[in-house]
Amino acid sequence: MTIATLDHDTLLQALRRVLAEKDIAQPDEIAERIRITDAGTPAQGARMVARAWCDPAFRTLMLTDGARAAALLDIPMRGAPPLGVLENTADLHHLVVCTLCSCYPRAVLGYPPFWFKSAAYRARAVRDPRGLLTEFGTTLPAATALRVVDSTADYRWMVLPQRPHGTEGWSEAALARLVRAGDMIGVTIPALA
């Protein structure tokens, strides 16, 4: 029997044991890390978007230095790569992909979704982005330019979507509830339910 023949559950179990024996990763450290990672959700990014829609100074900061803007809202950014924020307008829409793997603004959006990591998304986002968007139910006006941005391990991107019409006077919390992960990657557009 060799390592290559072990099934993945057995291999993971063995690795956990060895890392614990060597005091590299104890079970309670792993549990704590899972708890922290699970707490990073798209609700974090949605709070940034809602604040940017309500506060022009925050919007400027967010477009200049996304990581500082996130930290200002108490989103933990320690150890995270720099965060660039791309502003959608009536004339220009942004779509984020990682063609090489799965780089994703995890600090503000949480774990990357399954589709973001898929070969189909990675291959098609840079070749047929408008066709790809229709599979998410998104049809861009022909006059809106579409810019596709490829993430890297060293620099992450999120999208600042346009504020939907009909939300004038809404509270920041209500606005934040409108914003989904896909809106901040550019596969969908925030809309009133």
Binding site: A25, W115, S118
Partner: protein, 102 residues
């Protein structure tokens, strides 16, 4: 890029093989396996045992059939194991002993 230029298997932006494949936008929950592998990688990074770039090298050097045959976090586990063995952080004997222990 020149269409005929050879590309690494993970460099799949625009490659014809996947252009007709639909994207499944439905939500998928992570399993306990997925979360655990992810957490271990983060801890190894924080303790400077292994970097993200090393994780990527381990994934990108999997044989192509293995790369496309494994789930996302199975690739991570294979890479983490290979890199830790390569750096002598762990040994094959330790891993096999742990795998066969009751």
């Amino acid at each position: 890029m020149d269409q005929d230029e050879p590309r690494a298997m993970h460099d799949i932006g625009g490659v014809p093989r996947f252009l007709c494949e639909p994207v499944d936008p439905s939500p998928h929950s992570l399993t306990e396996f997925d979360r655990t592998v992810d957490a271990i990688r983060q801890i190894l990074g924080q303790k400077q045992v292994m970097s993200v770039d090393e994780l990527r090298r381990g994934i990108e050097s999997l044989p192509e059939a293995t790369y496309f045959g494994l789930s996302y976090y199975e690739r991570w586990l294979r890479s983490i194991t290979a890199i830790l063995l390569e750096k002598s952080v762990i040994t094959e004997a330790e891993l096999m002993a742990a795998a066969t222990a009751p």
